[in-house]
Symmetry: C2
Subunit: 407 residues, 2 copies
């Protein structure tokens, strides 16, 4: 079933907030058989909200609205919906008690400022928000469903998982649309596409999408017609993997950092990081995976040369002779960090993230990556494109590719 | 002038890509007097693209389209626009030469797969893409402007800054809409809103927006009517800051990590990080700022207790007695890292990021933050809400607040 998302708030249009809610909503709703067919971001203006909602309801029967619910003057979603559905207000006692609980140890005036959030349109079902003060609302109107939630990511998650989904799931019995996604690394999209031309043109009841992101391309196989059998879908999936051969990096639905932690756990290996130019990015990718402590004792952010020599035992003479951005230094960094942290696996980076510091010989984007797995060390150099942020992501992706070849 | 953005691609709807382009476009276009009034994300289907474009053109006279331009079969934006504007194709020699240059050292078959990207609609102006293979396109039609670009962030930036803006700027002479934004930390939105009630109700020709993000709330003052003088706008801005008093964290348009690097440079201080539960996040926030190397020699990701004792000289007995997540350990970590890295300033974190590992006494989200500035050390404990990712952002924000109080 197609649904639409409307996000409300100037901050989404003025470039001060990246909308991560929609990504979450898409992921959590897909397995229930809901596909997001359109997302619209609008200003927090009453007319814009009403028009967008009316338009969406001509195309689909379920609309999720995020943002514009809260205690401040620019939070107008609730009053707009009240007007739209032409209804009065009621006090929700559960919400009122929840607000009392949240503010019980604080100045009572703060509770007074917030208690109006327990006043809800009488035409809606309350979507309880355990993580915040503004509840969500669910309207059923002319066999159409409209839900509104505050825009804070943690609160969206709580409302969806604790209130919306448990309530809505039994009411819809939707045929599943299957998706499966795999990851390729460091192969250009055009090259993959050429290789898969024949495969793609023979797909019946399924389609393939290319999702390029930095130097990774994810390929998503989607069932597009319900007549496709499970066996046929699986057949396509296997064919796709055979076609890709060595280009296939991972065929599980997970991010590269999850792949890494999984692979290390499987082998009972631990990893340490020695990062100069990526400054903690790789270590932080590992720590983002719950359970990372089993495989990651830690790492060193060795931005300064003195730290490279003192903590990682890089030979100061090598820094003088070859420069801090060199294969020799990357090799000594990875050796040093594995020794320090007593790990089987290590990753070291040294490079020029830019925008300044490049030379003719070593332009901005140059990076030496050292990888160590047991006794084997592999040091390679790369030139990665993009901003400082892009550089770090590409460096992490590249190091995963290099590490996989050594495992 | 209001403009709209249309982003094309299933990946934006299926939850596999966060749309960062819109944020960039909003930021770069605001100073030219363009405001984004709506963003629409749609599937890469011809009808969806045509309908969204038609709808946008009933509301505004400029539409920017991103995504769906590239060498693969799911890249249909160009053919849809050709049909929409009912035009033929031409070969752009500049683009063709650029493609030759990109692929000159690679298998010639890769060039063959890509050279069709030099075929462009004959009704458009080419928006040259120095960072990639797919050029952008700009159509002028019935006094309306429609630009299309590929979706890769680095390519959007290159096309906007090197082609679109230089071309479009002289054609529009737009009155500026002023925005100014300041940052508050660790004060609830409802409390700020209450305090500013009177200030807000007296605003004429200007408005105030609340942009909450984790435990930070940004406040944006916007000129809403062109009759407001610069002096009045400045007057409102100064009043706002007086009202906020101590709650004001920073009145410059910058992120917290930029604030940090600036403050340290001003004082000729250097900083080192010792991170357990935040695993490199804080160090990486610093490294993301260009020029960070002047103030940041590096840090230690001390996830494992052995690393805490060996590299940071935390007393093993203290870990036994008080636990790794304790004020005593945070204090020793920050002392140890400042000594190691010979810095005036240090930040140390130890806590429980979750989702597991919490106890009754120290629930998930507990963190001890140690801050050292010269001889002063301050250790505080906090309980931070949200996912592992939220936890790290809140920990960084909180430590900036604590650090500011000590500077």
């Amino acid at each position: 079933m197609d649904i639409e998302i409307i996000t409300i708030g100037d901050e989404l249009l003025i470039g001060q907030t990246v909308d991560t809610n929609s990504v979450y909503l898409a992921k959590i709703l897909a397995p229930l058989g809901f596909q997001i067919s359109r997302k619209t971001a609008i200003r927090d203006q009453a007319d814009a909200i009403k028009n967008a909602l009316s338009e969406s309801l001509t195309r689909v029967n379920m609309v999720l609205i995020t943002g514009g619910l809260g205690p401040t003057n620019d939070d107008i979603t609730q009053s707009v919906l009240q007007e739209y559905f032409n209804c009065g207000v009621r006090t929700d006692e559960t919400v009122l008690n929840h607000l009392k609980e949240i503010f019980k140890n604080r100045d009572p005036r703060i509770f007074e400022l917030n208690k109006k959030q327990a006043l809800l349109p009488d035409a809606c079902i309350t979507l309880f928000n355990s993580q915040g003060t503004a509840p969500g609302m669910l309207f059923e109107h002319n066999h159409q469903w409209i839900a509104a939630m505050p825009g804070v990511p943690g609160e969206v998650r709580a409302i969806m998982e604790e209130s919306f989904i448990p309530y809505i799931r039994p009411k819809f019995n939707l045929g599943l649309t299957q998706h499966r996604t795999l990851t390729t690394l460091m192969v250009p999209e055009s090259v993959i596409s050429h290789k898969l031309q024949h495969f793609e043109s023979n797909l019946k009841g399924a389609s393939l999408a290319y999702l390029p992101s930095y130097n990774a391309v994810k390929l998503r196989l989607t069932q597009t017609h319900h007549s496709l059998t499970q066996a046929d879908f699986n057949g396509y999936w296997e064919q796709l993997k055979v076609q890709l051969g060595d280009w296939l990096f991972d065929d599980a639905e997970r991010e590269l950092n999850e792949w890494l932690v999984y692979q290390l756990k499987q082998r009972n290996y631990r990893i340490a990081t020695a990062e100069s130019c990526t400054g903690g990015f790789i270590g932080n990718q590992i720590v983002r995976v719950s359970g990372a402590s089993d495989v990651f004792p830690g790492g060193i952010i060795a931005y300064d040369n003195r730290i490279k020599t003192e903590l990682l035992h890089v030979n100061a003479q090598n820094i003088m002779t070859y420069g801090a951005v060199s294969a020799e230094v990357a090799e000594e960094m990875v050796t040093g960090v594995c020794e320090r942290f007593q790990t089987e696996v290590g990753i070291a980076t040294t490079g020029i993230a830019g925008p300044n510091g490049g030379t003719l010989e070593k332009p901005v984007g140059t990076i030496f990556i050292g990888i160590k797995v047991n006794e084997h060390i592999n040091v390679t150099s790369h030139v990665l494109r993009g901003s400082r942020h892009d550089f770090m992501i590409r460096a992490f992706n590249t190091s995963m590719k290099l590490l996989k070849e050594m495992l």
